[in-house]
Symmetry: C2
Subunit: 239 residues, 2 copies
């Protein structure tokens, strides 16, 4: 057993916050950019940074998210460690990072954190310091480091969790929702377009999606029925 004594990896955390706004699934990004060899570059990145000396990764993720976006009290789950030696191969990324942390770096390994949440006018509020913004997943540009890949993996993880534990999906919807709202969310998460008729069958088969008497009001089209998610029925089936 031996390693190169010059090899000191830095460890960072990166937070993938996936937010559903009722229409699209978005990911939270912060600004990223600098000037290298007189050429300016700018893009976006996930909220993330190196961990402190005496800090566990979970604490680092919470701190970094707050520092870069102003968001706190969000439960994030560690989902994967990204350690491909090529993840900092772009000299811009390395230059930006060395500037940001005021240290030469060799290699940086990051631990990915994930949260799925509902976003609306009420929140969460974003701080302006690092231009934190929600970007729809289908409008993602090329991001810094391997952040596109990290987001892809996070979405795969979410799909897997929803398959195992469908309740997760309903936490993103309002208390009463229409079949269209549920289908839109479902399509968004799975990256597919579900057949409308089959989807209605699917809803009918989900005993924990309970139709209400109430319908939409003040709509120009035919008022759709509301449904609600029944946690008790769900727990009986999935418990």
């Amino acid at each position: 057993m031996s390693t190169n004594p010059g090899f000191f990896p830095h460890l960072s955390v990166d937070c993938v916050l996936l937010g559903y706004d009722g229409e699209k699934l978005n990911v939270l990004l912060v600004e990223y950019g600098s000037e290298l060899d007189t050429e300016k570059f700018s893009s976006q990145k996930l909220p993330g940074s190196v961990i402190y000396d005496n800090e566990d990764v979970d604490d680092a993720a919470e701190r970094v998210l707050y520092e870069l976006t102003g968001i706190k009290n969000i439960y994030m789950k560690q989902f994967k460690c990204f350690a491909n030696p090529d993840r900092t191969k772009n000299p811009r990324d390395k230059y930006w990072l060395e500037n940001a942390i005021r240290q030469k770096i060799g290699r940086i390994i990051t631990v990915g954190y994930l949260a799925l949440l509902r976003i609306d006018k009420k929140g969460p509020q974003l701080s302006k310091e690092h231009n934190a913004t929600w970007c729809p997943l289908d409008e993602l540009q090329s991001l810094a480091f391997d952040h596109n890949l990290i987001i892809e993996d996070a979405v795969k993880q979410v799909r897997k969790e929803i398959e195992m534990e469908p309740a997760v999906l309903f936490e993103l919807l309002p208390k009463k929702f229409t079949a269209l709202e549920l289908r839109t969310l479902f399509d968004m998460v799975h990256g597919v377009k579900a057949d409308v008729r089959n989807f209605h069958k699917k809803i009918a088969a989900m005993e924990y999606v309970v139709p209400l008497e109430e319908r939409q009001s003040n709509v120009s089209h035919r008022a759709a029925r509301y449904y609600r998610f029944d946690k008790k029925i769900y727990n009986k089936i999935h418990g």
Copy 2:
């Protein structure tokens, strides 16, 4: 954003292989020990070591497992990064590690890998170089570093996965198995003693556990019926 320039964490991988031998759930350990301040110490640890300069963590886990135990071609899943700053607080652990990798270390962060497998006379074969041995979970001593905690977390992870995907459990059993064998495995994994009667009801409710006509032979007690796991029925229900 700033970090102490003297802070260079090392990154390692640790492999938790949980093996079921038909009676007990075991974890694979290797020897660990040295002499510090003229006092000899010895114990056991998980197969694990620091990652190489140009190595991804998945590759490191595969390499380290092979080097320390002789086992290869086992699918291991990354399950958690352990980064508590206190995880190397025991001077023995630090001393042993610095000796092993011939480097001073500050802090070491490890990525845990997990595999669940069946062990029997056929394998897997273990190399002798580091005294790799299977230790029953209920006989674990105090291990090096935070390895007891890592194993605890790994077992929790396995329980969660089996709850979500019960098929995992049946991969540990022979093709035909008795209710007692299934119950023993179930108890072992969940760390409980299931009530015998309730457990028979549970088996009856699992449509994918199919009773066979065949019974045990050459046993002194009443010959128990064999069951088999039906993957097709299972997939219909869980697919």
